[in-house]
Symmetry: C2
Protein backbone atom coordinates (compact mmCIF):
# COMPACT_ATOMS: atom_id res chain seq x y z
CA UNK A 1 0.00 0.00 0.00
CA UNK A 2 3.03 2.28 -0.28
CA UNK A 3 2.73 5.43 -2.42
CA UNK A 4 5.56 6.83 -4.51
CA UNK A 5 5.32 10.54 -5.38
CA UNK A 6 7.51 12.23 -7.97
CA UNK A 7 7.47 16.02 -7.94
CA UNK A 8 9.10 19.23 -6.84
CA UNK A 9 10.47 20.48 -3.55
CA UNK A 10 11.07 24.19 -3.30
CA UNK A 11 11.35 27.22 -1.14
CA UNK A 12 8.31 29.48 -1.59
CA UNK A 13 7.95 33.15 -0.84
CA UNK A 14 4.25 33.86 -0.62
CA UNK A 15 2.35 37.09 -0.17
CA UNK A 16 -1.38 37.21 0.58
CA UNK A 17 -3.57 39.88 2.14
CA UNK A 18 -2.89 38.11 5.44
CA UNK A 19 0.88 38.48 5.37
CA UNK A 20 4.05 37.19 3.83
CA UNK A 21 6.25 34.18 4.37
CA UNK A 22 9.78 33.91 2.92
CA UNK A 23 11.59 30.76 1.76
CA UNK A 24 9.06 28.38 3.27
CA UNK A 25 9.16 24.68 2.47
CA UNK A 26 6.90 23.97 -0.49
CA UNK A 27 6.64 22.14 -3.82
CA UNK A 28 4.19 19.52 -5.05
CA UNK A 29 6.02 16.53 -3.54
CA UNK A 30 6.14 18.23 -0.12
CA UNK A 31 2.44 19.04 0.08
CA UNK A 32 1.43 15.66 -1.35
CA UNK A 33 3.63 13.64 1.02
CA UNK A 34 2.72 15.45 4.20
CA UNK A 35 -1.00 14.98 3.42
CA UNK A 36 -0.79 11.39 2.16
CA UNK A 37 1.28 10.13 5.11
CA UNK A 38 -1.82 10.29 7.34
CA UNK A 39 -3.27 7.47 5.26
CA UNK A 40 -0.41 5.32 3.96
CA UNK A 41 3.40 5.10 3.81
CA UNK A 42 4.84 7.62 1.35
CA UNK A 43 8.12 7.47 -0.53
CA UNK A 44 9.23 10.73 -2.08
CA UNK A 45 11.26 11.25 -5.26
CA UNK A 46 12.56 14.80 -5.66
CA UNK A 47 15.67 16.94 -5.92
CA UNK A 48 17.04 19.71 -3.70
CA UNK A 49 20.16 21.88 -3.75
CA UNK A 50 23.04 22.45 -1.38
CA UNK A 51 21.05 25.16 0.42
CA UNK A 52 18.36 22.70 1.51
CA UNK A 53 18.14 22.90 5.29
CA UNK A 54 18.69 19.86 7.47
CA UNK A 55 15.67 20.99 9.51
CA UNK A 56 13.55 20.48 6.43
CA UNK A 57 14.95 17.01 5.89
CA UNK A 58 14.06 16.31 9.50
CA UNK A 59 10.56 17.76 8.92
CA UNK A 60 9.90 14.91 6.47
CA UNK A 61 11.57 12.12 8.43
CA UNK A 62 9.79 13.17 11.64
CA UNK A 63 6.56 12.60 9.73
CA UNK A 64 7.58 9.18 8.44
CA UNK A 65 8.04 10.33 4.84
CA UNK A 66 10.61 8.06 3.19
CA UNK A 67 13.25 10.38 1.70
CA UNK A 68 15.69 7.83 0.30
CA UNK A 69 14.63 9.16 -3.12
CA UNK A 70 15.46 12.76 -2.20
CA UNK A 71 18.51 13.63 -4.31
CA UNK A 72 20.88 16.40 -3.23
CA UNK A 73 22.50 18.16 -6.21
CA UNK A 74 25.04 20.92 -6.56
CA UNK A 75 23.32 24.30 -6.88
CA UNK A 76 20.27 25.89 -5.35
CA UNK A 77 16.84 24.49 -4.53
CA UNK A 78 13.83 25.40 -6.70
CA UNK A 79 12.42 28.80 -5.73
CA UNK A 80 9.04 30.45 -6.33
CA UNK A 81 7.75 33.84 -5.28
CA UNK A 82 4.05 34.51 -5.71
CA UNK A 83 1.55 37.15 -4.71
CA UNK A 84 -2.16 36.39 -4.36
CA UNK A 85 -4.83 38.94 -5.20
CA UNK A 86 -7.59 39.78 -2.75
CA UNK A 87 -9.59 37.33 -4.89
CA UNK A 88 -7.40 34.37 -4.00
CA UNK A 89 -8.31 32.53 -7.19
CA UNK A 90 -5.82 34.88 -8.86
CA UNK A 91 -2.10 35.12 -8.30
CA UNK A 92 0.98 36.56 -9.96
CA UNK A 93 4.34 34.84 -10.13
CA UNK A 94 6.95 37.49 -9.24
CA UNK A 95 9.98 35.22 -9.50
CA UNK A 96 10.68 31.64 -10.52
CA UNK A 97 14.03 29.84 -10.49
CA UNK A 98 14.04 26.14 -11.38
CA UNK A 99 17.67 25.76 -10.22
CA UNK A 100 18.49 22.05 -9.60
CA UNK A 101 14.90 21.13 -10.62
CA UNK A 102 15.72 22.09 -14.23
CA UNK A 103 17.70 18.86 -14.77
CA UNK A 104 15.47 16.62 -12.64
CA UNK A 105 15.42 13.15 -14.15
CA UNK A 106 14.72 10.67 -11.42
CA UNK A 107 15.69 7.02 -11.23
CA UNK A 108 13.45 5.12 -8.86
CA UNK A 109 14.90 2.76 -6.26
CA UNK A 110 14.20 -0.96 -6.79
CA UNK A 111 11.48 -1.07 -4.12
CA UNK A 112 9.89 2.13 -5.44
CA UNK A 113 9.58 0.50 -8.87
CA UNK A 114 7.48 -2.24 -7.30
CA UNK A 115 5.13 0.18 -5.48
CA UNK A 116 1.37 -0.21 -5.98
CA UNK A 117 0.54 3.51 -6.04
CA UNK A 118 2.27 6.23 -8.03
CA UNK A 119 1.52 9.96 -8.11
CA UNK A 120 3.17 11.92 -10.90
CA UNK A 121 2.95 15.52 -9.74
CA UNK A 122 3.05 18.43 -12.14
CA UNK A 123 6.29 17.83 -14.10
CA UNK A 124 6.82 17.53 -17.86
CA UNK A 125 4.88 14.75 -19.57
CA UNK A 126 8.16 13.29 -20.88
CA UNK A 127 9.48 12.98 -17.33
CA UNK A 128 6.17 11.52 -16.20
CA UNK A 129 6.38 8.87 -18.96
CA UNK A 130 10.02 8.17 -18.14
CA UNK A 131 9.18 7.53 -14.47
CA UNK A 132 6.17 5.44 -15.40
CA UNK A 133 8.29 3.21 -17.64
CA UNK A 134 10.40 2.28 -14.61
CA UNK A 135 7.44 0.89 -12.70
CA UNK A 136 6.97 -2.89 -12.57
CA UNK A 137 3.22 -3.27 -12.20
CA UNK A 138 1.52 -0.39 -10.36
CA UNK A 139 -2.11 -0.83 -9.31
CA UNK A 140 -3.00 2.88 -9.59
CA UNK A 141 -1.16 5.66 -11.41
CA UNK A 142 -2.39 9.24 -11.00
CA UNK A 143 -0.93 12.27 -12.73
CA UNK A 144 -1.32 16.01 -12.43
CA UNK A 145 -0.68 18.48 -15.23
CA UNK A 146 -1.07 22.17 -16.07
CA UNK A 147 -1.78 24.62 -18.89
CA UNK A 148 1.95 25.02 -19.65
CA UNK A 149 2.31 21.35 -20.66
CA UNK A 150 -1.02 21.29 -22.48
CA UNK A 151 0.13 24.24 -24.58
CA UNK A 152 3.74 23.20 -25.19
CA UNK A 153 3.84 19.40 -24.90
CA UNK A 154 0.40 18.26 -26.05
CA UNK A 155 1.62 15.20 -27.99
CA UNK A 156 3.78 13.93 -25.13
CA UNK A 157 0.98 14.61 -22.66
CA UNK A 158 -1.59 12.67 -24.68
CA UNK A 159 0.84 9.78 -25.02
CA UNK A 160 1.34 9.78 -21.24
CA UNK A 161 -2.41 9.99 -20.55
CA UNK A 162 -3.00 6.68 -22.31
CA UNK A 163 -1.01 5.02 -19.50
CA UNK A 164 -2.49 6.63 -16.38
CA UNK A 165 -5.58 5.68 -14.38
CA UNK A 166 -6.39 9.06 -12.89
CA UNK A 167 -5.75 12.60 -14.13
CA UNK A 168 -6.11 15.72 -11.97
CA UNK A 169 -6.28 19.21 -13.46
CA UNK A 170 -8.26 22.42 -13.01
CA UNK A 171 -11.36 23.44 -14.95
CA UNK A 172 -9.60 25.82 -17.35
CA UNK A 173 -6.97 23.17 -18.06
CA UNK A 174 -9.63 20.52 -18.67
CA UNK A 175 -11.31 22.77 -21.26
CA UNK A 176 -7.94 23.54 -22.85
CA UNK A 177 -6.90 19.89 -23.04
CA UNK A 178 -10.22 18.73 -24.47
CA UNK A 179 -10.66 21.85 -26.64
CA UNK A 180 -14.21 22.10 -25.32
CA UNK A 181 -15.95 25.11 -23.72
CA UNK A 182 -18.32 22.95 -21.72
CA UNK A 183 -16.81 21.27 -18.66
CA UNK A 184 -18.98 18.14 -18.79
CA UNK A 185 -18.09 17.55 -22.43
CA UNK A 186 -14.43 18.27 -21.60
CA UNK A 187 -14.39 15.75 -18.74
CA UNK A 188 -15.94 13.04 -20.92
CA UNK A 189 -13.54 13.81 -23.79
CA UNK A 190 -10.54 13.41 -21.47
CA UNK A 191 -11.85 10.02 -20.30
CA UNK A 192 -11.50 8.89 -23.92
CA UNK A 193 -7.80 9.84 -23.86
CA UNK A 194 -7.04 7.07 -21.38
CA UNK A 195 -7.68 7.90 -17.72
CA UNK A 196 -10.51 5.92 -16.11
CA UNK A 197 -11.05 8.82 -13.71
CA UNK A 198 -10.74 12.56 -14.32
CA UNK A 199 -10.71 14.90 -11.34
CA UNK A 200 -11.44 18.53 -12.15
CA UNK A 201 -10.26 20.85 -9.37
CA UNK A 202 -12.31 24.04 -9.10
CA UNK A 203 -10.60 25.71 -6.13
CA UNK A 204 -13.11 27.30 -3.78
CA UNK A 205 -15.92 25.67 -5.79
CA UNK A 206 -14.83 22.10 -5.13
CA UNK A 207 -14.12 19.09 -7.28
CA UNK A 208 -15.89 17.28 -10.10
CA UNK A 209 -15.09 13.60 -10.66
CA UNK A 210 -15.75 11.96 -14.02
CA UNK A 211 -15.72 8.22 -14.58
CA UNK A 212 -17.24 6.30 -17.49
CA UNK A 213 -20.21 5.31 -15.30
CA UNK A 214 -20.82 8.40 -13.25
CA UNK A 215 -20.15 11.96 -12.16
CA UNK A 216 -19.57 13.04 -8.58
CA UNK A 217 -19.51 16.67 -7.46
CA UNK A 218 -18.46 18.11 -4.12
CA UNK A 219 -18.21 21.72 -3.05
CA UNK A 220 -15.14 22.94 -1.22
CA UNK A 221 -15.41 23.07 2.55
CA UNK A 222 -16.50 26.66 3.28
CA UNK A 223 -13.87 28.37 5.40
CA UNK A 224 -14.10 31.60 7.39
CA UNK A 225 -10.55 32.49 6.48
CA UNK A 226 -8.15 31.39 3.75
CA UNK A 227 -4.61 32.43 4.60
CA UNK A 228 -2.56 30.84 1.79
CA UNK A 229 -3.97 28.72 -1.06
CA UNK A 230 -0.51 27.47 -2.13
CA UNK A 231 -0.35 23.68 -2.35
CA UNK A 232 -4.09 23.09 -2.03
CA UNK A 233 -4.22 20.97 -5.21
CA UNK A 234 -1.28 18.76 -4.25
CA UNK A 235 -2.59 18.42 -0.71
CA UNK A 236 -5.95 17.37 -2.17
CA UNK A 237 -4.12 14.78 -4.28
CA UNK A 238 -2.27 13.54 -1.19
CA UNK A 239 -5.46 12.92 0.76
CA UNK A 240 -7.13 11.43 -2.32
CA UNK A 241 -4.32 8.99 -3.19
CA UNK A 242 -3.69 8.31 0.48
CA UNK A 243 -7.24 7.11 1.01
CA UNK A 244 -7.13 4.96 -2.14
CA UNK A 245 -3.87 3.35 -1.00
CA UNK A 246 -5.28 2.74 2.46
CA UNK A 247 -8.39 1.16 0.91
CA UNK A 248 -6.25 -1.03 -1.33
CA UNK A 249 -8.63 -0.79 -4.27
CA UNK A 250 -10.36 1.59 -6.65
CA UNK A 251 -14.15 1.43 -6.77
CA UNK A 252 -16.81 4.10 -7.08
CA UNK A 253 -17.41 4.22 -3.27
CA UNK A 254 -13.66 4.42 -2.60
CA UNK A 255 -13.16 7.15 -5.22
CA UNK A 256 -15.97 9.24 -3.75
CA UNK A 257 -14.72 8.99 -0.17
CA UNK A 258 -11.20 9.68 -1.45
CA UNK A 259 -12.44 12.92 -3.05
CA UNK A 260 -13.92 13.95 0.30
CA UNK A 261 -10.71 13.10 2.20
CA UNK A 262 -8.73 15.02 -0.41
CA UNK A 263 -11.06 18.01 -0.02
CA UNK A 264 -10.71 17.79 3.76
CA UNK A 265 -6.90 17.85 3.57
CA UNK A 266 -7.04 20.73 1.09
CA UNK A 267 -9.32 22.66 3.44
CA UNK A 268 -6.75 22.40 6.22
CA UNK A 269 -3.63 23.43 4.31
CA UNK A 270 -5.03 26.81 3.23
CA UNK A 271 -5.79 27.79 6.85
CA UNK A 272 -2.13 28.72 7.43
CA UNK A 273 0.96 29.54 5.39
CA UNK A 274 3.03 26.81 3.74
CA UNK A 275 2.81 23.34 5.37
CA UNK A 276 2.16 24.78 8.79
CA UNK A 277 -1.40 23.53 9.28
CA UNK A 278 -0.56 20.00 8.12
CA UNK A 279 2.53 19.70 10.28
CA UNK A 280 0.81 18.84 13.56
CA UNK A 281 -2.65 17.78 12.43
CA UNK A 282 -4.13 14.82 14.30
CA UNK A 283 -6.19 12.02 12.84
CA UNK A 284 -9.02 13.02 15.21
CA UNK A 285 -9.11 16.52 13.67
CA UNK A 286 -9.12 15.08 10.15
CA UNK A 287 -11.88 12.66 11.06
CA UNK A 288 -14.01 15.41 12.65
CA UNK A 289 -13.81 17.55 9.51
CA UNK A 290 -14.55 14.52 7.34
CA UNK A 291 -17.76 14.04 9.29
CA UNK A 292 -18.55 17.76 9.08
CA UNK A 293 -17.94 17.58 5.32
CA UNK A 294 -20.30 14.64 4.89
CA UNK A 295 -22.96 16.52 6.86
CA UNK A 296 -22.33 19.69 4.82
CA UNK A 297 -23.12 17.86 1.58
CA UNK A 298 -25.73 15.38 2.79
CA UNK A 299 -28.94 16.19 0.92
CA UNK A 300 -30.73 13.19 2.43
CA UNK A 301 -29.71 14.31 5.95
CA UNK A 302 -28.95 10.86 7.26
CA UNK A 303 -28.13 12.42 10.63
CA UNK A 304 -31.62 13.84 11.06
CA UNK A 305 -33.34 10.74 9.75
CA UNK A 306 -31.56 8.51 12.23
CA UNK A 307 -32.48 10.65 15.22
CA UNK B 1 -50.23 25.23 1.13
CA UNK B 2 -50.82 27.91 -1.51
CA UNK B 3 -47.89 30.15 -2.52
CA UNK B 4 -48.25 33.82 -3.40
CA UNK B 5 -45.48 35.29 -5.56
CA UNK B 6 -45.03 39.01 -6.14
CA UNK B 7 -42.67 39.98 -8.94
CA UNK B 8 -42.20 41.01 -12.52
CA UNK B 9 -43.59 39.76 -15.81
CA UNK B 10 -41.81 40.92 -18.91
CA UNK B 11 -40.91 40.31 -22.48
CA UNK B 12 -37.24 39.34 -22.81
CA UNK B 13 -34.98 39.55 -25.82
CA UNK B 14 -32.04 37.29 -25.13
CA UNK B 15 -28.88 36.63 -27.11
CA UNK B 16 -26.50 33.81 -26.27
CA UNK B 17 -23.89 31.98 -28.33
CA UNK B 18 -26.65 29.49 -29.14
CA UNK B 19 -29.02 31.97 -30.72
CA UNK B 20 -31.47 34.74 -30.07
CA UNK B 21 -35.05 34.92 -28.91
CA UNK B 22 -37.14 38.08 -29.17
CA UNK B 23 -39.93 39.24 -26.83
CA UNK B 24 -40.19 35.93 -25.01
CA UNK B 25 -42.25 35.60 -21.86
CA UNK B 26 -40.04 36.22 -18.83
CA UNK B 27 -39.78 38.02 -15.50
CA UNK B 28 -39.26 36.72 -11.98
CA UNK B 29 -42.92 35.96 -11.29
CA UNK B 30 -43.20 33.94 -14.52
CA UNK B 31 -40.17 31.72 -13.89
CA UNK B 32 -41.05 31.27 -10.22
CA UNK B 33 -44.70 30.34 -10.88
CA UNK B 34 -44.08 27.90 -13.68
CA UNK B 35 -41.49 26.05 -11.55
CA UNK B 36 -43.40 26.15 -8.24
CA UNK B 37 -46.69 24.92 -9.71
CA UNK B 38 -45.25 21.39 -10.00
CA UNK B 39 -45.21 21.29 -6.20
CA UNK B 40 -48.08 23.45 -4.91
CA UNK B 41 -50.81 25.87 -6.05
CA UNK B 42 -49.38 29.24 -7.04
CA UNK B 43 -51.08 32.61 -7.06
CA UNK B 44 -49.29 35.32 -8.99
CA UNK B 45 -49.23 39.07 -8.30
CA UNK B 46 -47.79 41.11 -11.17
CA UNK B 47 -48.54 43.77 -13.74
CA UNK B 48 -48.60 43.71 -17.55
CA UNK B 49 -49.40 46.27 -20.25
CA UNK B 50 -51.92 46.44 -23.06
CA UNK B 51 -49.50 44.60 -25.35
CA UNK B 52 -49.55 41.49 -23.19
CA UNK B 53 -50.61 38.60 -25.40
CA UNK B 54 -53.65 36.53 -24.59
CA UNK B 55 -51.61 33.44 -25.49
CA UNK B 56 -49.32 34.27 -22.59
CA UNK B 57 -52.25 34.62 -20.22
CA UNK B 58 -53.36 31.21 -21.44
CA UNK B 59 -49.82 29.86 -20.91
CA UNK B 60 -50.25 30.51 -17.17
CA UNK B 61 -53.84 29.36 -16.83
CA UNK B 62 -53.10 26.15 -18.78
CA UNK B 63 -50.49 25.41 -16.09
CA UNK B 64 -52.87 26.10 -13.21
CA UNK B 65 -51.20 29.33 -12.19
CA UNK B 66 -53.79 31.56 -10.51
CA UNK B 67 -53.68 34.91 -12.34
CA UNK B 68 -56.44 36.78 -10.53
CA UNK B 69 -53.66 39.01 -9.19
CA UNK B 70 -52.33 39.80 -12.67
CA UNK B 71 -53.14 43.48 -13.23
CA UNK B 72 -53.48 44.89 -16.75
CA UNK B 73 -52.45 48.56 -16.94
CA UNK B 74 -52.36 51.12 -19.72
CA UNK B 75 -48.99 51.19 -21.41
CA UNK B 76 -46.42 48.58 -22.35
CA UNK B 77 -45.21 45.49 -20.53
CA UNK B 78 -41.75 45.48 -18.88
CA UNK B 79 -39.01 44.77 -21.42
CA UNK B 80 -35.43 43.56 -21.08
CA UNK B 81 -32.82 42.90 -23.75
CA UNK B 82 -29.66 41.10 -22.66
CA UNK B 83 -26.66 39.50 -24.29
CA UNK B 84 -24.67 36.75 -22.59
CA UNK B 85 -20.92 36.40 -23.02
CA UNK B 86 -19.36 33.09 -24.04
CA UNK B 87 -18.70 32.80 -20.29
CA UNK B 88 -22.39 32.71 -19.39
CA UNK B 89 -21.72 34.03 -15.88
CA UNK B 90 -21.40 37.42 -17.60
CA UNK B 91 -24.05 39.37 -19.42
CA UNK B 92 -24.71 42.89 -20.67
CA UNK B 93 -28.05 44.64 -20.51
CA UNK B 94 -28.55 46.28 -23.90
CA UNK B 95 -31.97 47.76 -23.18
CA UNK B 96 -34.31 48.00 -20.20
CA UNK B 97 -37.77 49.58 -20.10
CA UNK B 98 -39.75 49.26 -16.86
CA UNK B 99 -42.93 50.53 -18.55
CA UNK B 100 -46.01 49.61 -16.46
CA UNK B 101 -43.73 47.89 -13.90
CA UNK B 102 -42.40 51.34 -12.85
CA UNK B 103 -45.57 52.09 -10.89
CA UNK B 104 -46.18 48.56 -9.63
CA UNK B 105 -47.73 48.72 -6.17
CA UNK B 106 -49.77 45.62 -5.63
CA UNK B 107 -52.76 45.10 -3.39
CA UNK B 108 -53.24 41.47 -2.52
CA UNK B 109 -56.63 39.81 -2.78
CA UNK B 110 -58.25 38.79 0.52
CA UNK B 111 -57.41 35.10 0.09
CA UNK B 112 -53.83 35.94 -0.96
CA UNK B 113 -53.38 37.84 2.30
CA UNK B 114 -54.19 34.66 4.20
CA UNK B 115 -51.70 32.50 2.25
CA UNK B 116 -49.14 30.44 4.16
CA UNK B 117 -46.24 30.97 1.75
CA UNK B 118 -45.06 34.23 0.23
CA UNK B 119 -42.21 34.81 -2.21
CA UNK B 120 -41.14 38.42 -2.67
CA UNK B 121 -39.16 38.37 -5.92
CA UNK B 122 -36.57 41.00 -6.75
CA UNK B 123 -38.50 44.27 -6.37
CA UNK B 124 -37.69 47.31 -4.22
CA UNK B 125 -37.44 46.64 -0.46
CA UNK B 126 -40.16 49.27 0.17
CA UNK B 127 -42.54 47.37 -2.10
CA UNK B 128 -41.55 44.09 -0.47
CA UNK B 129 -42.34 45.56 2.98
CA UNK B 130 -45.60 47.02 1.73
CA UNK B 131 -46.73 43.62 0.43
CA UNK B 132 -45.59 41.90 3.58
CA UNK B 133 -47.65 44.27 5.74
CA UNK B 134 -50.79 43.07 3.94
CA UNK B 135 -50.26 39.45 4.97
CA UNK B 136 -52.33 38.08 7.86
CA UNK B 137 -50.07 35.38 9.27
CA UNK B 138 -47.78 33.72 6.73
CA UNK B 139 -45.88 30.59 7.77
CA UNK B 140 -42.89 31.23 5.52
CA UNK B 141 -41.80 34.45 3.82
CA UNK B 142 -38.87 34.33 1.39
CA UNK B 143 -37.39 37.34 -0.40
CA UNK B 144 -34.90 37.85 -3.21
CA UNK B 145 -32.82 40.98 -3.67
CA UNK B 146 -29.96 42.33 -5.79
CA UNK B 147 -26.93 44.64 -5.74
CA UNK B 148 -29.01 47.61 -6.97
CA UNK B 149 -31.17 47.61 -3.81
CA UNK B 150 -28.22 46.88 -1.53
CA UNK B 151 -26.45 49.93 -2.94
CA UNK B 152 -29.39 52.33 -3.15
CA UNK B 153 -31.91 51.18 -0.52
CA UNK B 154 -29.80 49.60 2.21
CA UNK B 155 -31.85 50.97 5.15
CA UNK B 156 -35.17 49.86 3.68
CA UNK B 157 -33.69 46.48 2.79
CA UNK B 158 -32.36 45.87 6.29
CA UNK B 159 -35.73 46.86 7.76
CA UNK B 160 -37.45 44.38 5.42
CA UNK B 161 -34.94 41.60 6.23
CA UNK B 162 -35.95 41.65 9.89
CA UNK B 163 -39.36 40.38 8.81
CA UNK B 164 -38.45 37.57 6.39
CA UNK B 165 -37.63 33.94 7.08
CA UNK B 166 -35.51 33.21 4.02
CA UNK B 167 -33.32 35.47 1.88
CA UNK B 168 -31.94 34.47 -1.52
CA UNK B 169 -29.11 36.40 -3.21
CA UNK B 170 -25.91 35.68 -5.11
CA UNK B 171 -22.41 35.48 -3.65
CA UNK B 172 -21.30 38.97 -4.68
CA UNK B 173 -24.52 40.41 -3.27
CA UNK B 174 -24.07 38.53 0.01
CA UNK B 175 -20.58 39.99 0.41
CA UNK B 176 -21.87 43.45 -0.48
CA UNK B 177 -24.79 43.28 1.95
CA UNK B 178 -22.66 41.98 4.84
CA UNK B 179 -19.66 44.14 3.91
CA UNK B 180 -17.50 41.03 4.26
CA UNK B 181 -15.00 39.56 1.77
CA UNK B 182 -15.42 36.05 3.08
CA UNK B 183 -18.61 34.27 2.03
CA UNK B 184 -19.00 32.20 5.22
CA UNK B 185 -18.66 35.28 7.39
CA UNK B 186 -21.06 37.12 5.07
CA UNK B 187 -23.68 34.36 5.30
CA UNK B 188 -23.49 34.31 9.09
CA UNK B 189 -23.65 38.12 9.29
CA UNK B 190 -26.83 38.16 7.18
CA UNK B 191 -28.44 35.58 9.49
CA UNK B 192 -28.06 38.18 12.26
CA UNK B 193 -30.07 40.68 10.19
CA UNK B 194 -33.21 38.57 10.56
CA UNK B 195 -33.58 35.69 8.10
CA UNK B 196 -33.40 32.24 9.66
CA UNK B 197 -32.12 30.88 6.37
CA UNK B 198 -29.81 32.50 3.83
CA UNK B 199 -29.47 30.94 0.39
CA UNK B 200 -26.41 32.05 -1.56
CA UNK B 201 -26.81 31.34 -5.29
CA UNK B 202 -23.50 30.71 -7.06
CA UNK B 203 -24.72 30.03 -10.60
CA UNK B 204 -22.84 27.15 -12.21
CA UNK B 205 -21.17 26.46 -8.84
CA UNK B 206 -24.37 25.71 -6.97
CA UNK B 207 -25.95 26.93 -3.77
CA UNK B 208 -24.81 27.44 -0.19
CA UNK B 209 -27.45 27.38 2.56
CA UNK B 210 -26.79 29.03 5.92
CA UNK B 211 -28.93 28.47 8.98
CA UNK B 212 -27.99 29.18 12.60
CA UNK B 213 -27.33 25.47 13.18
CA UNK B 214 -25.71 24.37 9.95
CA UNK B 215 -24.39 24.92 6.46
CA UNK B 216 -25.42 22.92 3.41
CA UNK B 217 -23.63 23.08 0.09
CA UNK B 218 -24.68 21.65 -3.26
CA UNK B 219 -23.00 21.97 -6.65
CA UNK B 220 -25.05 22.84 -9.69
CA UNK B 221 -26.15 19.93 -11.83
CA UNK B 222 -23.43 19.66 -14.50
CA UNK B 223 -24.99 20.16 -17.93
CA UNK B 224 -23.57 19.41 -21.35
CA UNK B 225 -25.15 22.51 -22.79
CA UNK B 226 -26.50 25.71 -21.29
CA UNK B 227 -28.64 27.56 -23.82
CA UNK B 228 -30.02 30.49 -21.80
CA UNK B 229 -29.32 31.17 -18.09
CA UNK B 230 -32.12 33.77 -17.82
CA UNK B 231 -34.49 33.03 -14.95
CA UNK B 232 -32.36 30.31 -13.33
CA UNK B 233 -32.43 32.02 -9.92
CA UNK B 234 -36.19 32.56 -9.89
CA UNK B 235 -36.77 29.03 -11.18
CA UNK B 236 -34.55 27.74 -8.36
CA UNK B 237 -36.66 29.77 -5.90
CA UNK B 238 -39.83 28.29 -7.41
CA UNK B 239 -38.69 24.70 -6.90
CA UNK B 240 -37.35 25.56 -3.45
CA UNK B 241 -40.51 27.31 -2.17
CA UNK B 242 -42.69 24.79 -3.97
CA UNK B 243 -41.14 21.89 -2.10
CA UNK B 244 -41.40 23.72 1.24
CA UNK B 245 -45.08 24.46 0.61
CA UNK B 246 -45.72 20.87 -0.38
CA UNK B 247 -43.97 19.67 2.79
CA UNK B 248 -46.02 22.07 4.90
CA UNK B 249 -43.14 22.87 7.27
CA UNK B 250 -39.60 24.17 7.47
CA UNK B 251 -37.03 21.87 9.03
CA UNK B 252 -33.40 21.16 8.19
CA UNK B 253 -34.28 18.02 6.17
CA UNK B 254 -37.02 19.88 4.28
CA UNK B 255 -34.73 22.85 3.56
CA UNK B 256 -32.01 20.57 2.19
CA UNK B 257 -34.34 18.64 -0.11
CA UNK B 258 -35.90 21.95 -1.17
CA UNK B 259 -32.46 23.21 -2.21
CA UNK B 260 -32.00 20.10 -4.34
CA UNK B 261 -35.45 20.45 -5.94
CA UNK B 262 -34.69 24.12 -6.60
CA UNK B 263 -31.38 23.17 -8.19
CA UNK B 264 -33.12 20.53 -10.30
CA UNK B 265 -35.67 23.06 -11.61
CA UNK B 266 -32.89 25.57 -12.28
CA UNK B 267 -30.97 22.93 -14.22
CA UNK B 268 -33.93 22.38 -16.55
CA UNK B 269 -34.78 26.00 -17.34
CA UNK B 270 -31.32 26.83 -18.74
CA UNK B 271 -31.50 23.95 -21.23
CA UNK B 272 -33.69 26.02 -23.58
CA UNK B 273 -34.60 29.66 -24.15
CA UNK B 274 -37.11 31.44 -21.94
CA UNK B 275 -39.68 29.20 -20.22
CA UNK B 276 -39.58 26.64 -22.99
CA UNK B 277 -38.05 23.74 -21.04
CA UNK B 278 -40.41 24.18 -18.09
CA UNK B 279 -43.52 24.41 -20.20
CA UNK B 280 -44.02 20.70 -20.81
CA UNK B 281 -41.86 19.11 -18.15
CA UNK B 282 -43.34 16.02 -16.49
CA UNK B 283 -43.10 15.09 -12.83
CA UNK B 284 -41.37 11.86 -13.90
CA UNK B 285 -38.61 13.87 -15.58
CA UNK B 286 -38.20 16.08 -12.50
CA UNK B 287 -38.10 13.06 -10.23
CA UNK B 288 -35.51 11.29 -12.39
CA UNK B 289 -33.19 14.30 -12.27
CA UNK B 290 -33.75 14.65 -8.52
CA UNK B 291 -32.52 11.09 -8.11
CA UNK B 292 -29.58 11.75 -10.46
CA UNK B 293 -28.76 14.85 -8.42
CA UNK B 294 -28.78 12.93 -5.15
CA UNK B 295 -26.48 10.33 -6.69
CA UNK B 296 -24.21 13.05 -8.10
CA UNK B 297 -23.62 14.48 -4.62
CA UNK B 298 -23.78 11.32 -2.52
CA UNK B 299 -20.37 10.92 -0.89
CA UNK B 300 -21.52 7.92 1.10
CA UNK B 301 -22.82 6.24 -2.09
CA UNK B 302 -25.94 4.83 -0.56
CA UNK B 303 -26.74 3.24 -3.91
CA UNK B 304 -23.58 1.13 -3.92
CA UNK B 305 -23.82 0.22 -0.24
CA UNK B 306 -27.31 -1.09 -0.64
CA UNK B 307 -26.40 -3.37 -3.55
Amino acid sequence: MSIVVVGSIGYDTVETQHGRIADALGGSASFFSVAARFFAPVSMVAVVGEDFKSDDVKFFTDRNVDIRGLVHEKGETFRWHGRYHEDMNQRDTLHLALNVFADFSPDLLPDQRRADYLFLANISPQLQSRVLSQMTNPKVVAADTMDHWINTERAALIKMLAKVDILTLNDQEAKLLAQEHNLVKAGRAILKMGPKTVLVKRGEYGVLLFSPESMFAVPAYPLEEVIDPTGAGDTFAGGFMGFIARSGKVSEPVLRKAVVYGSVMGSFVVERFSLDRLSDLSWETIDARYRAFVELTDSQHTKWNSQ
